[in-house]
């Protein structure tokens, strides 16, 4: 599904991502873990075209997408959620999801039509908001959401694109126990027909969901395997010294 080879990104001499060879299997849930600053978000930014790699290549479904623009990658069925919620503050939740659905369908260019036509998405929009625990809030502007709710909306937007490859950057950060549980259930449900790459600090979530875990440190791959083997890897234990690996 997704493969990178020798992928590197330098920020004025500092290698945030260093020579990463990542291979994500079709239909897998692949977790990306590592301490803060390990380069996980930078890797996502590379995969989605938001930044250009210093060197290396990215292949998605067998096609080289290195250097493509974010919208081109999105149109290839790749959706991401942002670690730091990236929303349209003034727009309502319904308007957010409608924008995503319209983006998926590629009908946004219609300047001669009424935007009332977007009501055809009403049922789908409500369904998506329900799924992420934002049911009944469709008329609320995103700017007035609490932090955890913004994360939930991020998830709804990514799902609205019906992506084949879903990249989630810390989807449960800032959520309470209940919301984390619902998010895990949701990811289990939506994984059926897609591949998921998940950045996650919550090891409960990782062990629940991930088929494969890649550990990053200082921009490099430190270890890779299933949850149990990675967890017992001495390098990983050293890297996480001080952080809970439960």
């Amino acid at each position: 599904m997704l493969r990178t080879s020798g992928l590197s990104k330098e920020f004025s001499g500092f290698r945030a991502v260093s020579d990463v060879d990542l291979s994500v299997a079709d239909g897998a849930v692949h977790a990306l873990v590592g301490p803060n600053g390990a380069g996980k978000t930078t890797l996502f930014n590379l995969l989605t075209g938001f930044i250009k790699p210093t060197s290396g290549t990215i292949t998605i479904e067998g096609r080289d997408v290195t250097g493509m623009r974010p919208e081109q990658i999105a149109q290839r069925g790749v959706a991401r959620s942002f670690q730091i919620a990236s929303l349209f503050e003034e727009l309502t939740l319904a308007e957010h999801v409608e924008l995503a659905l319209q983006g998926r369908d590629g009908t946004g260019y219609r300047f001669w039509r009424s935007d009332k036509r977007l009501r055809r998405y009403a049922a789908e929009t409500d369904g998506l908001l329900d799924q992420v625990g934002l049911g009944g809030m469709s008329g609320v502007p995103a700017g007035s959401l609490a932090y955890g709710q913004k994360r939930a909306l991020e998830l709804a937007l990514a799902l609205a694109l019906s992506p084949r490859l879903l990249l989630l950057d810390e989807p449960t950060a800032g959520m309470g126990v209940e919301d984390v549980a619902r998010t895990i259930e949701l990811i289990k449900r939506v994984r059926a027909d897609r591949t998921i790459v998940l950045v996650e600090h919550n090891m409960q979530v990782v062990s629940d969901l991930a088929d494969t875990v890649t550990v990053l440190q200082f921009g490099k791959v430190l270890a890779e395997g299933d949850y149990q083997s990675v967890r017992n890897d001495p390098d990983v234990i050293t890297a996480y010294l001080g952080e809970a690996v439960a």
Partner: protein
Amino acid sequence: MILTRLATLTNGWNPALRIGLLVIGLVLAFGLPWVMYPPVALDIAAWALFAVALDLLLGYTGMLSFGHAAFWGSSAYATGIVAIETGLPFPVAVLGGALVAAALALPIAMLSVRRSGIYFAMVTLAFAQLVFFIANQWRSVTGGENGLQGIPREFFGLDLSDSFYFYYAALPLILLGLLGAWRVVHSPFGRVMVAIRENQARARALGYPVDRYKVQVFVLSAFLAGLAGGVYAIGHGFASLQEVYWTTSGKVVVMNILGGMGTLWGPVLGAGIIVLLEDYLATAGIDAVGLVTGLIFVVTVLLFRRGIWGTVRHLVRSRRRPDERAAAQEGEPESRPAPARQG
């Protein structure tokens, strides 16, 4: 009590209110030449469309063009040339002018949309200065400093030399232009424009080719600015270098900021105020138009950022906000969110 009732009546999205506003707007549009010197009424109409055209870019898409005189002015010249050379009915000439403006806008947009913020403003200004330079040099076509004189008001043989009648002949073009802008803003495309204004990276992540959208908005905006500039040129019977001068670009920006950008009605209001003010100062023999508009600009920016229309709308809407807040609270899950974790 009455105020609260009024507020619920005027809560921005209320259809009755919108129709009420539309009726008032139309009454004003049709009544203007009865209450003021008709050429001034025509100036208001033309500038209103020009200001709304810029609003598509500035208010709705978040792109500050500081070179829109290029499109208003190039259409003024092109309209004049078509009218003089072909003698076709003036709406055809105006349409021709608007198409020239749109054609000119396409390469300018493609070369400038990659820039954002102040850099975009500077690139558009630079192109507009180039257009000014060409208009100034190309005397055989534009008349240079003398301007393009003797543009006829041909309309199927009707005598429109009286500006009172010409106003009504030209008004449909203006209203069609405004209707077009309204259509664009309230379309699926208009939603994408606002998304780009609010967060273009997010819009890209949703699969929208942001640069292409920006080019399209720019060209649409230039087309409408061209319609306005063409009507203006026919109305005045000449096109001058003033039309492509940078102060014209600045004036239409001031109209937007004064009236309230991103509202359509605001720029119309801003155009009305500035044109009337200029007319008043000119008839009173006060030679300080630049100073006065500059002062208004500074006061608006400092005191009410949203402009007149935006401020009124905000006040009206914030009366309704408490209900919305309550709805948000009810829907909020039990769990309290932890502070943002950066990494």
